[in-house]
Each structure stands twice: as C-alpha cells, then as structure tokens.
Symmetry: C2
Subunit: 279 residues, 2 copies
C-alpha cells in the first residue's frame, strides 16, 4: 500500500489521454502530471535532445515524490524508454510495450499498422518491438506530422471533413496493405479515433496507447504492492512549462471534460536539472 | 564599407525565405543564419519565453561578428522586436515594420488582412502598427496554426488540393470582408503564396514579409555605410540548434534550390547565454 502519487509526463498535453484512462481504472490514485508545453513538440527533435528532455521531465516528477512513473508520450517511450527503465529508482512504463502487446493480442491477420510522430516512426521502436515479440508479423509504419497540430489547434473539431481527408492521405496505403490492427502510437491520436476509424474501416482494431499504458500502470502498482488505499477519489495535480493560460482549453480536449483544476508553471530546465538518485 | 556578415535568425528554417531575398538583392553580402530548430516552433509559446529565446539567438549571432541583425521571424518581430531594437549594438530590423509599410502602400480599399502564427496574431502587433501608421485602415487578422507544419512536413507539395482546402478555412472570412491586400506575417508563408493567392483571388496583393525585410535590410546597410565591397558573391553560413541531418531537405523547400552547404550545430542555451555588449 502506498498513497504517494503516480507521475505522468508528456511532451505536451496529449499525455492527458493516459491520465484520463489511469483515473478511470485507478480512481483512488493521486496523479502528478507534467506537460512540457514549453518545449513541445518532441516529435521532430533529435534523439540526443529527446533523451535529455526525458531525463529532466522525470527528474522533476521524482522531486514531487512519485511512487511510479509513466512516460505518456510515444516519442519519449520510443527514444528514451530504455534509459528511463534502466535509470529510474521507481517502477516505470512507457506507452511502447503495453501497446505492442495489445496489438499482438488483437491481430488475426498478423498485419499491424503503426501511426505516430516522425521521431517515433524514424526510431523504428514500434516495428522493432513488434518483430521481437512476433517475428512473423508484418508492420506498416506511417508518420502523420499534421495530426498533433490538427488536434492541438482544435482544427479537427471545426473541420472534421478536411481532417478526414488529411487522415486519408496518411492511412490509405496502410488500408491497402490489409492491416487488421492499427497502433495509435502517439497519445494525441486517441482524440482522432473516430476519424481514423472511419478511414481505415470498422473491421480494423485501433489500439489506444493511453488506455493500454493505464492498464500496464495498474499491473505495475499491483506487482510492487503500491496501490493506494483510500476511500476518496484521487486528486490530479498539473504542471506545465509554458502557456499556462491555455491549459484549461487544450486540457479539456484531451480529458474530454471541463478542467477547473489549477495548473502550475515549472521552469523545467532548472527544476529538472539535478540527476535523480540512482537505485 | 563593411565586409562583415549580416546576421539573420528565425525560430526554424522559415527565415531562409528572407535569406533568399537578401542574397538576391544584396548578392555580395555574407550572411550568417541561425535557425533555432531545437526550439521551433516559437508561434505557440508565451511572450516571456519568446523574448528570452530572441535574446539568446541574437547573442549567438553577435558572437559571429555580424554588422547588422535581421529577425526573419514574424513571432520574434512581433513579440520581441522592441527589445531587440533597443538593446542591440548593431542596426536591426524585424519583419514587422517593413511589411506593414509595404501593405499600406499597396492597399487602395484600406482593408488589409494579416495571416500569421497564433502568437503573432495574439500579440496584435501587426494590427497595432497598421493602425498607428494609418488609423483609418481596417484590419482582418487570422491565425493559421496548420500552415507551418503543412510547409515543414512537405504536405503541401504532395497534397496541394487539401492544402488549398485548409487555406480556404482560414481565409474565406477574410475574403468575404473585401480585403485587397494580405500580409503573409510568417516567413514560412511565402512558400504557400500560390495557394493563398488562389484562395483570396488574383486581385488581392500578397505582401511577402521576407522580401520586404530584405529591402529594409538593404536600406539599413546603405544608411549606416555598411554595404560590403567585394567582387565575389557573398557566402552563407548556416547554424541550427537541432536536426542537422534534415537541414538540406527542409532548407531546399525554403531556398527553392538544392542546398549543398554545410550546416553547423549550436547549443543555443550555452552559446546564447552571455548578454550582448550594450552600446
């Protein structure tokens, strides 16, 4: 039993889709969220920079006394997941492994599509892990650089028709290859699920990385005896590194509810500066 | 006469549209370009962060011994132009004032549209300056958050039809208001000029901030007696703060030519750390 909070971070606010799922299946857990809105997007940055940022983000959350850590970010999980697994003094999960396992359980044809940011696709992390667990599987990867700004700017709410056309350009090749399962490898993408579903067709299973990661987080807490024990619902504390004024509006898109909670501003390059204690 | 280089910087590589124009009208000038690709985009960041980044970018270029400075970035010019004008020890121009002057010369109806990033539009800088120079003018402002990723990811080259539909969503209201002049208030947007032109109609004059800024830069050098005197074409040196590998591909989009030159990586938070010498 452990009533300390779970730490969840993302390059921006997309990781809130994972927060929503964690809160849904673990309603008594406190959560501390850090969204690196001052340095978003990570998806088009280099490997070295992404690893440096991931270390800083995790260091900040460790200072908040978290009992477990979730990188709710496809880019961080793909590019720095190994580093965080190895170095962090608390149980850790990224989105990569739980999502890959769920996709392999779902596929019947053995043909899996992966959609994600440029950095995630370029890292090859999803394809490699799919192949490691199931060498016979075929993987079709596609980066979708417009999906994050389409979600964050609210464009998809105002123009679902054009958003669908954009999705069509990214996904038609994948559909033609006969995939029966598509990994939504970026935590922004669950917001586009209805549109992506229409484009790839109803028969295709969409694997939501936020949802799978929340499940993995629950298993981690159970295994380590870290589940919270309280009667009341858990509280969520939000930190961002920039644009505190826009938080409620954008967070509402991802959490699918009105966000009334306060959010606090962090100077991540200062607060994330110290290395974490090693185990 | 002064053979030192001109310093040009932008949040990313969009400012290369201004480099292209400067090189075209001032072919004997050396140029040092810094593109802050490690922290791009500035357009959705807070005022405080943008001003801090602008100071660092300019500090780095001063260390390269530049004789004049151009902020080839709508966001920096709008949010930190005042600060740079005041503090820099060399002649400075942003894109804002030259572009506004050109738009006021071009308009006959006195109705001017401004398209730019969210931060630029939110700052109100274009509208305020237009009104200061010409109080009777009507200004229609529109942020276009998808335009930068549409250009940088190459989407507009592969899907001009959908890019036109996206442009239509941003520009139809402006067209209905009867503007006869539209300011392209972000240095990425000249790349979209043909598509924007089709959407707003042939009769509407598009003001290219890169081109107007290059003209202003020439005037500045003339006024301060800083024009270079050499027979050979000027050289361009490129620095970026991340993703050095992608430079040639993306730079080619903005310079509209194959980029063979080398590019060097800068740790901007270190190199831009020291304040510039005051006048």
């Amino acid at each position: 039993m452990d009533n300390r909070p779970i730490g969840v971070f993302d390059s921006g606010l997309g990781g809130l889709t994972a927060v929503r799922e964690i809160h849904r299946i673990l309603p008594h857990e406190d959560i501390v969220y850090f969204g690196d809105t001052g340095r978003v997007p990570y998806g088009n940055r280099s490997r070295a920079i992404i690893r440096q940022y991931a270390r800083q983000d995790a260091a900040f959350l460790l200072k908040q006394g978290v009992k477990a850590m979730v990188a709710a970010c496809g880019t961080v999980s793909s590019v720095a997941g190994d580093l965080l697994s190895r170095e962090l003094p608390v149980p850790f999960t990224g989105v990569l492994e739980p999502t890959v396992r769920a996709a392999l359980e779902a596929t019947k044809a053995g043909r899996i599509g992966v959609v994600a940011t440029e950095a995630t696709i370029r890292s090859g992390a999803y394809a490699q892990l799919l192949k490691r667990f199931a060498p016979a599987v075929s993987v079709y990867s596609q980066s979708c650089p417009l999906f994050v700004p389409v979600v964050e700017s609210g464009f998809m709410l105002e123009h679902p028709d054009i958003t669908k056309e954009i999705a069509e350009t990214y996904l038609s090749g994948m559909r033609a290859c006969g995939v029966d399962t598509v990994i939504l490898g970026c935590t922004h993408y669950p917001i586009l699920k209805p549109i992506i579903g229409e484009v790839v067709g109803e028969a295709v299973r969409l694997i939501d990385s936020g949802r799978e990661t929340a499940r993995r987080c629950r298993t981690l807490l159970e295994e380590h005896g870290l589940l919270a024990q309280r009667e009341t619902p858990g509280a969520c504390t939000y930190y961002v590194s920039d644009r505190i004024d826009d938080f409620s509006k954008v967070a509402g898109i991802f959490l699918r509810e009105d966000v009334q909670q306060e959010v606090q501003l962090v100077d991540i390059e200062k607060e994330g500066g110290a290395p974490w204690p090693t185990v």
